[in-house]
Symmetry: C2
Subunit: 126 residues, 2 copies
């Protein structure tokens, strides 16, 4: 269900968060569907339970999931909407990146082609 790279610069708990968010956005994890328990996921990924909890706790704070003590963690009703609104902030990263590439003399057409290709693939796979 998850692919974790312990050698990555990116913290494990962030990798978990990103992958869970993508599962929600793709619809593979619908609203109210139950997430793997902290302990089971800990065993499956050979990761400390505290690391899993850190990821779950962050998602819970942001309203992506909700937890019921004694029962488990579940995807929030409007998780996808929250994520979509949150993703909009990534447009700033896009601007920063485009600015760097423009500065390096990489032609605008090259960036446009990149994006067009990505959206074409997404449009097909979805």
């Amino acid at each position: 269900m998850f692919r974790i790279d312990p050698l990555s610069r990116q913290p494990v708990y962030e990798q978990l968060i990103e992958q869970l968010e993508k599962l929600v956005l793709t619809g593979l994890l619908p609203a109210d569907s139950q997430l793997p328990s902290v302990r089971s996921l800990s065993l499956e990924l050979s990761i400390n339970p505290n690391t899993i909890q850190k990821a779950y706790s962050d998602l819970d704070t942001r309203g992506i999931i909700y937890s019921v003590p004694g029962i488990g963690c579940f995807v929030a009703k409007n998780a996808a909407e929250v994520l979509q609104a949150h993703m909009r902030r990534k447009l700033d990263s896009l601007r920063q990146l485009a600015d760097d590439l423009a500065l390096a003399g990489i032609p605008e057409e090259e960036l446009i082609d990149c994006i067009h290709t990505i959206y074409k693939e997404r449009g097909v796979t979805l």
Copy 2:
């Protein structure tokens, strides 16, 4: 000459590297122009000399600058070319970002507009 944010998540030495690279790409630091000395820059930015040296050492390893012991550090002849080639790897980051935004349902036109605006501004300022 430099703006350093000690509170940033990004390490100080990386901030230095990025700003120096941009000065080279914009042509404000031509080939063979001398960089501020480790000690003077250390005083100016209130940063430990070791941190400055770490940045310089990294740039030297990558062929962006060259150092002459007893004299100083200078911009390499083909620094701009090296940086432009290196920047091309950022296109992967662009793809990753576009993929995320596509997944979040942000329309392609919005990304295209972003990039077009950036390149328009760059075209004017240069």
